[in-house]
Symmetry: C2
Subunit: 394 residues, 2 copies
């Protein structure tokens, strides 16, 4: 059989997935200290807590937990997720919650509902590479909006909206992936206002919000939006378990929610009942606040170790100093190439993701993303020392 | 906020999802005997077996079962699913298995990989309405191929292939949804040959295969395909649990598997580790053969009760006599309208799905699909008597 490239759809022909594949490869090698990926620490996962909960919900609910469920989601989880999100300052009711397979599926369903090939979508420059790939699978025209140390620049976003009439503005406001930067309060208000002013759906992707190690929590963009243009995306991946694949979208316009439900019907019918019931039970037992406090304690130390490690990097290296999340973003002296550095780093058993993958238009060869959640403090010290050594050798 | 219809993508604008929504509504009403839906019987589900397995796999695997997994799937499940499928005469290796969220997601990923708006896809006339909806969300030109009591007619399929140059031929060979008809041995060979002859991917959707209550098992279409054009879709939904959302695709061309993996990366990253581990453990414990025998015993009686019930239907009613699966298909005397019948039936507390929803082009107003798996024998007798009474009253 010969499968020529022409067999594939135009959208998929344009996507080779190699950036994400390369990251997965970097994670697996034995002895590797990996600052690639965005995995939580295994120490932050609680099999001993989840095992009895899994058994409990199956015994308690019985056959219906194994039966088909509604596409709109498991109602107890819609209620408990709404209650949890309200404590984080998200304005929502259970009927506006659509449980999804992580926030990744919520992004996919928004793209499916809104975007035709050639339609423009806006994102931060840089932004999460998984979202860039998802946008490409819909043939979107991706336009990135400049950011600075306070996140996306609203004036630049407004200019891009006027020029490109986008269908969607995608933004990660808290401890952004990949930069770790947090959108300031004034900008949250300004971005929210743009949605209503221009009729643009804003996807506020906020999976890291509760992983704050210093500073004060900020209200969501969604809380400043009175007209429903902001769709808030949350996930339990970084808080409870990524392997469980439970996230949710808060969708206020009933027509938009309906189209996302139709999209979900056709892609997976519904999210697994069991996984929704486990997260619901975990939330109702009140386990999340103490767990968040514990993992924030771990990650705070890990972030500090990573930041210290930059002191041995060459002069002219700059890096962000995030107040939370999973990532630090670094910019090497002009002329250095993170892709070439990566080859040498992998030989020295330390890995990261070159920053170019987070720019829809490429470039920025001297940037890199470093993850600190998936390594213990001694590994982080050792890994940063190895990176500094590789940089010094040139 | 005003969300006008123009906000939505062209593909989603064309899909209103009301047929599927109506079916879900019919399932829920208290006192209703529902022959709508395709749910297994609650008596066929085993919470008492699955609860300890869930706890066991989480304790045994530990943190990695809660961690991110690979898009290609949980390797132990890929191995155990391949072993199970080989006993059903599917030719496959673990590396060709892509675990999916039921076979629904496998269909979605095939469409995503292969179909541009306007591309033709072929299916049986009638076919599963969920697949029709999925095809519509990709803007496919759906062309249905005539069927008879032996399933899709290969000569008609060949004519449609020559005329329309389709990207995909979708077929449910065993106890078809909605008709219950099984594709004959000679036709399996003939359909397999068409894939290689014309370079058309054939999606062999076979979730009911092991639910056989009489007659002899037939080899899969895939087993006659030496060139890899047949993608075999299987699901544990009808055998173990639909709510768990575990199915898989057997994809032989590496390039096609790669594009489906990229599609899955962007839609949900990976299937939940826990659900894959539970199904894997269930298979490795060797529980499936005895369970299939038990549920086939239940469903055999339920099917017989439903078939008996037709004796009270008006003269001129015809129906299929399936050897397995979940559905019986009926054709009422010419001039009767199943949609109007449904309204009266629902008043009498019995429900079914009007057959028109299973034809991409509509029509066939006098047909209906009846599900027997989700009702006990006494309910089936009562429900069929109610339907006969409603028909008699006219």
């Amino acid at each position: 059989m010969q499968f020529t490239e022409e067999v594939f759809s135009r959208n998929l022909r344009a996507v080779n997935g190699s950036a994400i594949r390369d990251i997965f490869k970097l994670l697996g090698k034995p002895g590797m200290i990996s600052f690639a990926g965005g995995n939580p620490s295994n120490a932050a996962l609680e099999p001993q807590v989840i095992a009895p909960i899994a058994a409990e919900v199956i015994e308690m609910i019985g056959a219906p937990v194994l039966q088909y469920g509604g596409t709109e989601g498991f109602m107890p989880l819609r209620e408990s997720a709404a209650a949890f999100l309200r404590t984080s300052g998200v304005v929502c009711e259970a009927s506006q919650i659509l449980p999804t397979q992580g926030s990744t599926q919520a992004i996919d369903l928004l793209l499916k509902a809104l975007v035709d090939p050639g339609d423009t979508v806006l994102c931060e420059s840089p932004t999460f590479l998984g979202t860039i790939q998802a946008m490409r699978t819909y043939g979107a025209n991706i336009v990135s909006v400049p950011t600075d140390e306070e996140g996306m620049i609203p004036e630049a976003a407004e200019e891009a909206i006027r020029k490109h009439h986008p269908k969607l503005l995608y933004i990660i406001p808290s401890f952004q992936n990949p930069t770790g930067v947090t959108l300031s309060l004034e900008r949250r208000k300004a971005i929210a206002a743009l949605g209503a002013k221009y009729g643009v759906v804003i996807a506020e992707d906020d999976p890291y919000r509760d992983l704050r190690y210093s500073g004060e929590a900020l209200p969501s963009i969604q809380s400043f939006d009175e007209e429903g243009w902001v769709v808030y995306l949350s996930s339990f991946s970084k808080l409870i378990s990524p392997g469980m694949r439970v996230g949710c979208a808060v969708v206020k316009p009933a027509t938009l929610l309906r189209k996302m439900v139709i999209g979900k019907q056709s892609t997976d019918v519904h999210s697994p009942q069991l996984n929704q019931a486990i997260v619901d039970n975990y939330l109702r037992k009140g386990l999340l606040p103490a767990h968040i406090e514990r993992i924030c304690g771990l990650y705070r130390e890990q972030l500090a170790a990573m930041l210290e490690g930059f002191s041995a990097f060459p002069d002219g290296t700059s890096h962000t100093t995030p107040q939370g999340g999973l990532f630090v973003w670094a910019r090497l002296p002009e002329g250095l190439d993170a892709q070439k550095l990566l080859q040498k780093a992998v030989e020295a058993n330390v890995a990261f993701v070159p920053g170019m993958h987070f720019y829809p238009e490429g470039g920025n060869a001297n940037t890199l993303r470093l993850n600190f959640s998936n390594s213990e403090v001694p590994q982080i010290r050792e890994g940063m020392a190895r990176l500094a050594e590789v940089l010094k050798r040139g």
